[in-house]
Amino acid sequence: MTNIRNRINVTVKSFATLREVMDAQIRMDLPEGATIRSLLAELTGRYEGLNELIFAAPDTLRDFINILKNGRNIHFLAGLDTPLDDRDLIALFPPVAGG
């Protein structure tokens, strides 16, 4: 039996075209030690079509996909290996632009 203290809860928000395949905001219960990689595995398993939108190949995000952990792009943290903490806010962005 999993100890509740060994679980973390994160909020995931999606934007723009990603909302066509997934919820705009969900809370996810994950095991302690979860990373962005394991979170995305969970999400792509849950939402059909998401994998194609964010991954170019296994372990390789598509160009211009931006994932933020509490406002910081994971590219400048540990990428897909960025560890998750309880109550993290993860924002998933497809390619967007403007000006």
């Binding site: 928000k13 723009a16 792009n73 497809p94 390619p95 967007v96 632009a97 403007g98």
Partner: protein, 591 residues
């Protein structure tokens, strides 16, 4: 043929005469067109000591060789003048159809000098140009003027670029509007037109625009079309418009809120591009030859209009503490109708909101007051009540009341929708912008936030000076070519060089393209120095240098000018004061 229309019209409003001359080959070779033509002609003709709203200022409308050639997103024209708001030699860019029509009417550029005794408009018509009476148009909104000229000429093919009442009233950030909703927005070129009693320029005709090598151009057209169509960023622009940025900028904690007092707006979703698409958006719309179509046609209640784009959406929304999308869209429509820059108008209102809340100015407006905000927009356009003071822009307004620190501007022009404290390179780009507070003279948001062409850490200053220089030079060249800046998400310097070579027949490669951009940039800089600008002006409001952000990942950060400015000057070949050296001027062929 070489992509150019071949002629420039010189309209002397004081004499009531228009002279037509061939487009000089040297001007094409050295400056391409658009912003390059405008800045070269303007700075050649205007004494730096002049009053921007006096008779001696000049306004140049110029398209590029790629405007109207059928190249995807090749639609732009530039309006160059000495800005009454910032005092810089600046250009403002607009899309729509007018630029193409100006060339179909036979003209690469129009140079307007002097001041008409009575209101006039300039008609460009199949290689000819004439000044016509516009007394009956004075006081009319941009939509009314456009309809009236179309009716007068009994010609629905005519395209009109004009000012509204704000330009007539010399609001320092009055803009120029073509086809009712497309704006050459920044810097107050509309006020300069108003000061000259020039209400509009109308263009019609169907003269040919042919490339030097049509066959080769078609090959390159196909290549760039494919790149644009396949680029994910361009696809997002089509679906959600530029306001798709609201959420990503907010989630990065760099969305200026309540006059830059914060950089996160909890209700951002309510004014986002996603919400717009789900509520008031009727359809998207493109400029001439556009395959992206980021324009928003919005309808709600009894209101219809275009936009808001990201900038006015942010400025009337989060920057004013307002989360009512319909009020934001309504305010944007008022700006289009009256001819107001939809960045400077709302950010000046945000400045008033802060000053009123702090008791620096006695006024009932507060952040979040949508109704009060809408009233202020009209008051500014008409220069009524406090609107008369706000019409001078936030810097002059805040300074008048003893609190210049409340103006979020650089070189007296209001800053756009990004907080430099969390985007260091963007801060450098806007602080050194040769037209004052700005985002489209070097869009560093692309690498630092959006990850294109590669991801740069927005919190880091190292290496940013070089990126800023390249982006600024590249943008100047794109603005000269007639292409939309949004193509730069998908295209590189070589693509533009290939398009220009096939169109104009000139030998041009990526390095030469950037050199031309650098020449334009330095020309603006040199002229600004003659108008008194220097190192002291290449900066941002004290709040951004001294008051750290308080929320989210960039908490604790300020904008770190001193880590980047010297390196930027050195890379540019400028001295410590930011003056281009003799060697650099010689290299660029600038006296």
């Amino acid at each position: 043929m070489d992509g150019y229309a071949g002629k420039i019209a010189y309209a002397d409003l004081s004499a009531g005469k228009v002279t037509i001359k061939p487009t000089p080959p040297d001007l094409k070779r050295q400056y391409i067109g658009g912003r390059g033509f405008g800045i070269r002609l303007l700075t050649d003709m205007v004494d730096p000591k002049i009053d921007p709203l006096g008779e001696k200022n000049v306004v140049v409308f110029a398209a590029g060789p790629l405007t109207g050639t059928g190249i995807p997103l090749g639609s732009r024209y530039e309006v160059s003048t000495i800005s009454p708001l910032s005092g810089t030699a600046m250009s403002a860019n607009s899309g729509g159809v007018f630029g193409w029509k100006m060339k179909k009417a036979g003209f690469d550029a129009v140079v307007v000098t002097g001041k008409a005794k009575k209101p006039v408009y300039l008609l460009l018509d199949s290689g000819k140009a004439e000044l016509r009476d516009a007394a009956g148009l004075w006081g009319k909104t941009t939509g009314q003027v456009t309809n009236a000229i179309t009716d007068e000429l009994k010609d629905k093919s005519v395209r009109v670029s004009c000012i509204g009442p704000a330009g007539e009233k010399l609001v320092l950030f009055a803009c120029i509007i073509n086809e009712k909703t497309r704006a050459a927005g920044r810097g107050g070129a509309g006020a300069v037109m108003g000061s000259k009693n020039l209400k509009a320029i109308a263009a019609r005709g169907d003269l040919p625009i042919k490339a030097a090598d049509e066959e080769q151009l078609n090959v390159i057209k196909d290549r760039v079309r494919k790149k644009i169509e396949e680029n994910g960023i361009e696809q997002a622009l089509q679906k959600y418009g530029t306001a798709v940025l609201v959420n990503i900028i907010n989630e990065n904690y760099v969305l200026p809120t309540r006059n830059f007092q914060s950089a996160h707006f909890p209700a951002a979703e309510k004014v986002s591009g996603e919400t717009m698409a789900a509520t008031i958006l009727k359809q998207n719309k493109g400029c001439y030859a556009c395959i992206v179509k980021c324009g928003r046609v919005c309808e709600f209640d009894s209101e219809a209009g275009e936009g808001p784009e990201y900038e006015p959406d942010w400025a009337f929304g989060p920057d004013c503490g307002i989360d009512d999308l319909k009020a934001v869209a309504r305010a944007n429509n008022i700006c289009n109708e009256y001819g107001l820059d939809a960045i400077s108008a709302p950010t000046t209102i945000a400045c008033l909101m802060e000053m009123a809340e702090k008791g620096y100015v006695k006024h009932p407006i507060r952040f979040g007051d949508a109704k009060g905000m809408l009233k202020l927009v009209e008051q500014i356009a008409k220069r009524e009540d406090i609107g008369n003071e706000l019409a001078e822009g936030s810097f002059r307004f805040a300074t008048k009341y003893g609190h210049p620190e409340c103006s979020m501007s650089s070189k007296r022009q209001e800053l756009p929708a990004y907080d430099p404290r969390g985007i260091q390179g963007y801060g450098l780009a806007t602080a050194t912008s040769v037209r004052g507070g700005d985002h489209v003279y070097g869009y560093m948001i692309s690498p630092e936030i959006l990850g294109s062409p590669e991801k740069l850490d927005p919190y880091v200053t190292k290496g940013k000076a070089g990126w800023v220089k390249t982006f600024q030079d590249m943008t100047a060249a794109i603005d000269a070519s007639g292409m939309c800046l949004f193509t730069s998400f998908a295209l590189g310097a070589q693509d533009y060089a290939d398009l220009l070579a096939a169109t104009t027949g000139m030998e041009i490669d990526a390095a030469e393209l950037l050199k031309i951009g650098e020449r334009i940039w330095n020309l603006q800089k040199l002229y600004n120095i003659k108008r008194g600008f220097g190192r002291k002006d290449d900066t941002l409001p004290s709040r951004l240098l001294n008051e750290p952000l308080k929320e989210g990942a960039p908490s604790g950060q300020v904008w770190r000018r001193d880590e980047m400015l010297d390196e930027y000057y050195t890379l540019r070949g400028w001295d410590k004061e930011g003056t281009p050296t003799k060697e650099k001027r010689k290299e660029l062929g600038l006296a």
